[in-house]
């Protein structure tokens, strides 16, 4: 390396004492504060990150108050993607809300569909068929895998590793192929209906899923090899953004964030739905509550999801998919066009929609981000009075100022990535 290159790469243009342009070298090895006057660093600096910034995972805006490089305060500003979902839901039939749920947490659309269908079914007191339950478990676990894969890829980019992004999107494309064959859409699936599913899986789909379940863990092992003992990864993540179990509960965290802090709470285990009690899987629990533990928890959850998928494939037996109630499920098109009664049911359902009795129901499911809750209030008409989404990543993100106290500016990016936010759900 020539002398000139060294000078250019380690120096910044500036003025010397007499006002003539010169080059001020950077990175000189002097003790900190050696020749700075006392006022230097006394003033806080304000750094604005976002709303359009690649490391904010969407349109989050963070205002960071810095003293030197140490964070004094982080103020998140959200709402840049507020789309009025809850208001729209009050103007939609229950089955018409399902396409809206695709677009809240768009990283795990199928799990959201399942959550909404379960809520309305709880409101109406419907038990779905066994085959439907197993298919919904498959949908939920596939969603967990693709959502965690996005988290892995984008967090890798945030911390300076690009390769995992390509790996995870490669695997996601395989899931997308399955998803597309089943639902017809890569992302906006609208998979469920009240009382059943939009469609059964096509022929040969099980073989495709089996193939995925068999080969996917090898990708995870590659990630494990690359990250888990990587000195840079450990240095950036361990003891950064840690929350104790008491703080995690006090901040109402859920999902991997809560479990990384050592609280063993998983909705699938503690309030089982869809027959999760019949599946054999482990819930990973961290102990330090830092970014590293969150990474370990999410990685292990993907392994466990493949275990659940394998068991669900074994449980999948032929049988009826939808509940046998013409007021809930559309009759087949062939019957609707030939049978008077079926046609009336078809007409009434399309025009009026399903009508739950007056009442209200809260249903929480374990989504990749945490506990996704839907709270439906019905007054007996075909449209809900109130459709409330309990957004897990909004509540997890609210702990960001707490986690960033005393961290470095670069840690803010890592901590924000570890929350696993998706703005569509935070702002709704």
């Amino acid at each position: 390396m020539s002398q000139r290159t060294v000078e250019l790469s380690l120096a910044t243009p500036g003025l010397d004492r007499d006002g003539t342009p010169t080059r001020i070298p950077l990175g000189i090895a002097e003790p900190p504060g050696a020749h700075y006057d006392d006022d230097f660093g006394a003033e806080h600096m304000l750094v604005n990150i976002g709303p359009q910034h690649p490391a904010t995972h969407g349109v989050l805006r963070l205002v960071v108050e810095l003293e030197g490089e140490t964070v004094k305060r982080v103020i998140p500003h959200i709402g840049y993607l507020h789309s009025g979902f809850e208001k729209l839901g009050e103007y939609r039939h229950y089955n018409q809300i399902i396409p809206l749920t695709d677009r809240t947490d768009y990283l795990s659309p199928m799990a959201n569909n399942v959550g909404l269908a379960l809520t309305v079914e709880k409101l109406m007191g419907i038990e779905v068929t066994e085959r439907c339950r197993v298919l919904r478990v498959i949908a939920c676990e596939l969603s967990r895998i693709i959502s965690h894969l996005v988290w892995l890829g984008t967090t890798g980019i945030d911390l300076g590793a690009f390769t995992p992004f390509l790996w995870s999107f490669q695997e996601r494309e395989r899931v997308y192929n399955l998803q597309e064959a089943w639902t017809g859409a890569r992302l906006t699936t609208s998979l469920t209906r009240v009382g059943g599913m939009m469609a059964d899986i096509p022929d040969g789909w099980e073989a495709g899923l089996r193939d995925f379940v068999r080969t996917f863990p090898s990708t995870l092992e590659e990630v494990d090899t690359m990250f888990t003992r990587n000195a840079i990864w450990i240095g950036r993540t361990q003891n950064v953004g840690a929350l104790t179990a008491e703080e995690a509960i006090n901040y109402s965290l859920s999902g991997p964030m809560l479990r990384a802090s050592g609280v063993d709470y998983d909705v699938r285990k503690d309030r089982p739905y869809l027959g999760y009690e019949d599946y054999d899987f482990d819930v990973p629990v961290g102990e330090h509550g830092d970014i590293y533990d969150r990474y370990r928890v999410r990685l292990e959850e993907m392994f466990q999801s493949t275990r659940i998928l394998a068991q669900a494939l074994d449980k999948l037996k032929p049988g009826p998919l939808n509940v046998d109630d013409p007021r809930l499920i559309l009759p087949p098109k062939s019957r609707a066009m030939s049978d008077m009664e079926a046609m009336i049911y078809h007409f009434k359902q399309v025009m009026e929609g399903v009508k739950p009795p007056a009442g209200e129901a809260y249903m929480g499911i374990e989504n990749p981000k945490g506990e996704l809750g839907y709270y439906m209030v019905s007054d007996g008409t075909a449209k809900p009075v109130r459709w409330r989404i309990r957004p897990p990543s909004l509540i997890n993100l609210a702990s960001l100022p707490k986690m960033c106290e005393g961290a470095l500016l670069s840690d803010v990016i890592a901590i924000n990535a570890s929350v696993d936010i998706v703005m569509g759900e935070i702002d709704r």
Binding site: N48, G79, K87, Y91, E360, R388, S399
Partner: protein, 207 residues
């Protein structure tokens, strides 16, 4: 609805708070307890701290407005006991002719911070004791009202042209200054008229 099990917390609640526990009912297997507006904070603190109840986890805070304009607004707290695996829904009914105000539970659960701000933003219900009650999702100078109220039309009060104009006029840089940070810190101690001017989006008079 009938025949479902009422949560075991209802009887001790009635024994402790008497008439402040207005009524309880069960809907879809979940127990709902209506409490008086003045005692909501006491009830929630008692539910959190009393052994045998231990509702240590605040799942959600939200509000409901019914289509019937005569029915009161409801503020809803979803409580959960992580250890006992129990849920309880506590509600406060707010008469629309009275000021819409309940007590904040920010001192009990830090997780309620943004949830209460969201309820304020969407319904206009104020939470007494919240340290930083500002709009959360809409911008601070949003002038159309509270979107989730039933009298708020789906497409808003203003025309699209006016909405676009107002949105573009909202200067995104303005409220990311040191000034705003100091406002957030000192808001509670400011005199009432200053708070109102700040709430309307006025800036620049604080020096």
């Amino acid at each position: 609805m009938s025949g479902a099990r009422v949560s075991s917390s209802v009887a001790p609640l009635r024994a402790t708070f008497g008439v402040a526990v207005e009524r309880s009912l069960v809907s879809c297997g979940d127990t709902i307890v209506y409490v008086a507006r003045e005692r909501s904070h006491d009830v929630l603190a008692w539910l959190r701290d009393t052994s045998g109840q231990e509702f240590n986890y605040l799942t959600d805070v939200t509000a409901v407005e019914y289509r019937d304009p005569e029915r009161p607004l409801e503020v809803v707290w979803q409580l959960r006991s992580l250890g006992r695996r129990e849920d309880l829904r506590v509600k406060v009914a707010l008469d629309k002719r009275q000021p819409l105000e309940v007590q904040s539970v920010w001192d009990l659960w830090k997780g309620s911070d943004w949830l209460e701000r969201e309820v304020y933003d969407m319904f206009g219900i104020t939470f007494a004791g919240h340290p930083d009650l500002r709009r959360l999702l809409m911008w601070e100078t949003y002038a159309e009202g509270y979107p989730l109220r039933k009298e708020f039309p789906l497409r808003g009060h203003f025309s699209r042209a006016e909405q676009t104009r107002q949105a573009l006029a909202a200067n995104p840089e303005a409220h990311y200054s040191l000034e705003e940070l100091s406002i957030a810190e000192a808001y509670g101690e400011l005199p009432r008229d200053m708070q109102e001017r700040l709430a309307r989006g006025e800036r620049g008079f604080l020096r």
